[in-house]
Symmetry: C2
Subunit: 159 residues, 2 copies
């Protein structure tokens, strides 16, 4: 199983926006500079987060992104799904119905494939764990030095 780099970027941006609450909208260029990321490419993921209702965006010269909900209402699962989509990681293409199975009665396949069911149980466990953790948990467990550094850096940018 593989996840795109956008997941790491999106999670760090959400945590950063939680730290910078009260500073007004944060432009993509600043979020990109905060982690030395390509702004145009990062913007694609920020737009995904906005479409998912995790961020709200404001247009204009003082525009940018902020969290659209309270940090304790944003789960890691929502962020991952916004970037990666919510399809199953294991893709069942029903190969049991091909080859040796191609002449079998359709009713033989009315129950879901046991292999797909087993793989989905594992993905459900993964989703449950991600759904149980929020941006507020990330804020709570981050070292104070990280929070302070980001706030200081952002204040310096505004000078």
């Amino acid at each position: 199983m593989k996840m795109s780099e956008g997941v790491e970027w999106a999670l760090h941006c959400c945590l950063t926006l939680a730290w910078l609450e009260g500073e007004g909208p944060v432009p993509t260029s600043k979020l990109a500079a905060a982690f030395d990321l390509p702004a145009h490419y990062l913007n694609k993921f920020l737009q995904n987060l906005a479409r998912a209702g995790i961020l709200s965006s404001t247009a204009g010269s003082r525009g940018g992104f902020r969290l659209a909900k309270r940090p304790e209402s944003i789960t890691l699962l929502e962020i991952v799904n916004a970037v990666e989509g919510d399809e199953w990681g294991f893709r069942c293409t029903e190969i049991r119905q091909r080859g040796a199975g191609c002449h079998a009665a359709k009713s033989d396949f009315s129950r879901p494939c046991g292999i797909a069911a087993a793989m989905r149980r594992a993905e459900d466990a993964w989703r449950r764990e991600l759904a149980a953790q929020t941006v507020a948990d990330l804020v709570r467990t981050a070292p104070p030095s990280g929070t302070q550094r980001m706030r200081r850096w952002y204040a310096d940018q505004a000078r």
Copy 2:
């Protein structure tokens, strides 16, 4: 998170080889025909399973693959790892140390990133679930019609 089609193929081949235990080595061409898969491409995954100690391969005109261990000793996690590798799906590239973090003391980052830790907790839950399920469980929960169909099909191939 996304998995390659090889995971579905490898799981079905392992289940099939459990069903066909006692039939001797099953050639790649037959496993490919059983699911209408491209033999050359499937063989790559079967070799991965052999390298991981899940299958044993026999060369020669009557050669092929069989399970290298008892079905109850082969977990779904081993099969998935043999195909996909065992790296984390979430890749932490330590972007916290870039941009705003690039001049911070290295000691600020001595604890693992909280975001990576949270994502890995979820992957651990996924791994635990896959490690708790074996090929023997797939055999036990498969419908008898599937087992019989595959055995009959394989016997017909030998004629």
